[in-house]
């Protein structure tokens, strides 16, 4: 029996009011199971990131409720919010703006150990943990110490983000377009590392992307989002190989193909 890890019912976000009202996310229901890799696919402006931010608790929810492990999520105070964030973490689109530019990289990883209650561990043990995390993402810890984030390449930064997640071991990871600013070659590495991480820790990964090809490659189940609503959902094979909605079909036809003809006339 699969356990529901995160679910939402009637989740809505409205920006503005009156005539300028804009419904970014419109009564969305979902159930994410434990150990599953879920993709949310939609074009820009369909409300993917707004949904992610609501799940994370970074913006307020207009209507509806998020349930975490069967219980209603409570983030009314800052302390409770911090407690919630121990279970849910995110990787964002832009690795360059994800770091504090004034802090060295070892402190980024040290903070993660401290957050998991390892503040009183001996220093040697901490370094060992950091080395383990870095070797998980094929980075060399010796090369990273005493460096600032700007000295790394985009791919390295994004991999360091994954190393952070490896140390934090959250229940849920929200990956909001983690590969869109990275070239195709490092993209393969990052996707493989994300999937390894899922197998290693057994967490749920919510993968947000606009490229349905990526979603097909990584995910178990796919949600298609159009103008703030989920229009289609199901297992990856079902949705992407046999799409029912016209919107899904359009998204698939927009991705450049190599084995089939890419039809440019339907824009």
């Amino acid at each position: 029996m699969r356990k529901v890890c995160l679910s939402g019912s009637g989740l809505t976000k409205v920006f503005g009011f009156g005539r300028q009202k804009c419904v970014a996310v419109d009564h969305v229901d979902f159930d994410f199971y434990e150990g599953e890799l879920v993709s949310i696919v939609g074009e820009s402006g369909s409300g993917k990131t707004t949904l992610a931010k609501m799940i994370l608790g970074l913006i307020s929810v207009t209507e509806g409720e998020v349930y975490f492990q069967g219980k209603k999520r409570d983030i009314s105070t800052h302390k409770k919010k911090k407690e919630y964030w121990k279970n849910i973490q995110a990787i964002f689109q832009d690795p360059y703006s994800s770091y504090n530019i004034f802090r060295k990289i070892d402190t980024v990883l040290l903070d993660c150990i401290h957050m998991r209650g390892g503040r009183r561990l001996p220093r040697a043990k901490k370094i060992e943990m950091m080395q383990e995390a870095c070797s998980f993402v094929n980075l060399k810890f010796e090369e990273l110490t005493n460096k600032y984030p700007f000295e790394l390449s985009g791919g390295q930064m994004q991999r360091l983000m994954i190393a952070r997640i490896f140390l934090l071991k959250p229940k849920i990871l929200l990956a909001d377009e983690p590969t869109s600013m990275i070239d195709a070659c490092s993209r393969a590495t990052i996707l493989d590392e994300l999937m390894q991480l899922r197998d290693e820790i057994g967490m749920t990964i919510v993968f947000i992307t606009h490229d349905i090809g990526l979603a097909y490659y990584v995910s178990d189940s796919v949600y298609i989002m159009e103008r703030g609503k989920f229009v289609e959902s199901g297992s990856a094979d079902e949705v992407i190989l046999r799409p029912k909605e016209a919107y899904t079909q359009r998204l698939i036809s927009d991705v450049p193909k190599i084995y089939e003809e890419w039809d440019l006339s339907t824009v």
């Binding site: 820009s44 070659c185 493989d192 193909k257």
Partner: protein, 353 residues
């Protein structure tokens, strides 16, 4: 000039729009170190053809695009080589002359974040006015307006865009506006440097369609398209050139480069293709381990040797030249074509097991 003379002259140019011979350019850092990001690159683009340049980040794709225009600004410096646009050698020209007579009219460039090129305090039309008047100061405003409206409609953009400020446009629309502006003076060759990397797939398709339209409607004669997305490159261009650490490592038609790559690096790049087609889910992505070499001190031998699966002791010592195979195909490897194919087959078998 008699017809006979024209016929004699024709074969020498052979409708080659852009020819680059052994171009080398470098970046000079604050500490006077040289970084050769473009190292002895030769290429030829014929009329009506498009050339794609692939490679991972930091391999010199964008530097090559900047160098091709012949307009160098510090810290980018010219070292050696020749650039010939439509039979006219532009190397060693005065930068001011290049700006007036080459950029925009002969060769045009769309930078990576083209949408940031628009001035937020100006309407799109005044941006176009600036461009046109810089090259033709005698054109009246009315003429420019009519001309711009015609061009935009021809390219499938609504003419109402002209009277808008950049903030009112979406990302894809801004990108297409910049592309339309860059071809407004009918350049012979257009260099598009990752025009769609910041866009989602739907806007990307619109941009690609527009670039194809440009070729078909005769706005430009040739196109150089730079990206790291191989499926995109395969669909847009006729030829593909793969760059690694400032050098060309493989050249060939799009089909050859994608389905039958020879160089181990291009083989690795092709392993990172993701497409939503049946059976692609089980294909294992092969990432190339390691990082590109530091170009401040490039390795003496093959630059890919550190990351290559088929590395031999000789590779790290002997500099390797670009070997021209049959049919315009070229690759830079110590192994012969047959040896490379055998090695690829062996590797595929190993993966299958």
């Amino acid at each position: 000039m008699s017809n006979a003379m024209l016929e004699v002259r024709k074969p020498t140019t052979n409708n080659v729009i852009l020819e680059v011979r052994e171009l080398t350019t470098k970046w000079v850092t604050r500490f006077k170190e040289d970084i050769c990001a473009v190292d002895h690159v030769s290429l030829k683009v014929e009329e009506g053809k498009s050339l794609g340049i692939a490679g991972e980040s930091g391999c010199g794709k964008s530097t090559l695009a900047l160098s091709l225009m012949g307009y160098y600004f510090p810290p980018l410096r010219y070292v050696s080589g020749e650039i010939i646009i439509d039979g006219r050698n532009i190397t060693g020209m005065n930068p001011d002359d290049i700006r007036k007579s080459i950029l925009g009219t002969e060769i045009s460039y769309i930078p990576q974040s083209a949408m940031n090129a628009l001035n937020p305090t100006q309407k799109v039309i005044s941006f176009i006015e600036d461009v046109v008047q810089a090259h033709d100061p005698y054109k009246t405003r009315q003429e420019i307006h009519d001309f711009a409206r015609e061009t935009f409609e021809c390219l499938g953009l609504p003419a109402s865009v002209l009277q808008k400020y950049p903030v009112e446009l979406s990302g894809g629309m801004k990108q297409r506006t910049v592309i339309a502006t860059s071809v407004i003076l009918f350049p012979k060759i257009l260099i598009a440097d990752e025009p769609s990397s910041a866009l989602d797939v739907t806007s990307q398709k619109m941009v690609i369609k527009m670039l194809k339209n440009l070729m078909e409607n005769g706005f430009i004669k040739s196109l150089i398209f730079i990206t790291h997305e191989l499926p995109l490159l395969y669909n847009v261009t006729d030829d593909i050139m793969v760059m690694y650490a400032g050098q060309i490592v493989e050249k060939g038609t799009a089909k050859q480069a994608v389905f039958d790559p020879l160089h181990p690096y291009s083989k690795g790049l092709m392993g990172s293709i993701i497409v939503p087609e049946q059976g692609q889910r089980d294909v294992k992505l092969t990432a190339i381990p390691g990082v590109p070499p530091n170009l401040k001190k490039p390795p003496a031998g093959c630059r890919f040797a550190e990351r290559c699966k088929y590395v031999r002791p000789d590779c790290k010592v002997i500099p390797i030249a670009l070997y021209e195979a049959y049919g315009g195909r070229a690759y830079r490897c110590i192994l012969s074509e047959k040896e490379l194919r055998d090695a690829h087959l062996r590797e595929a078998k190993k993966d299958a097991r």
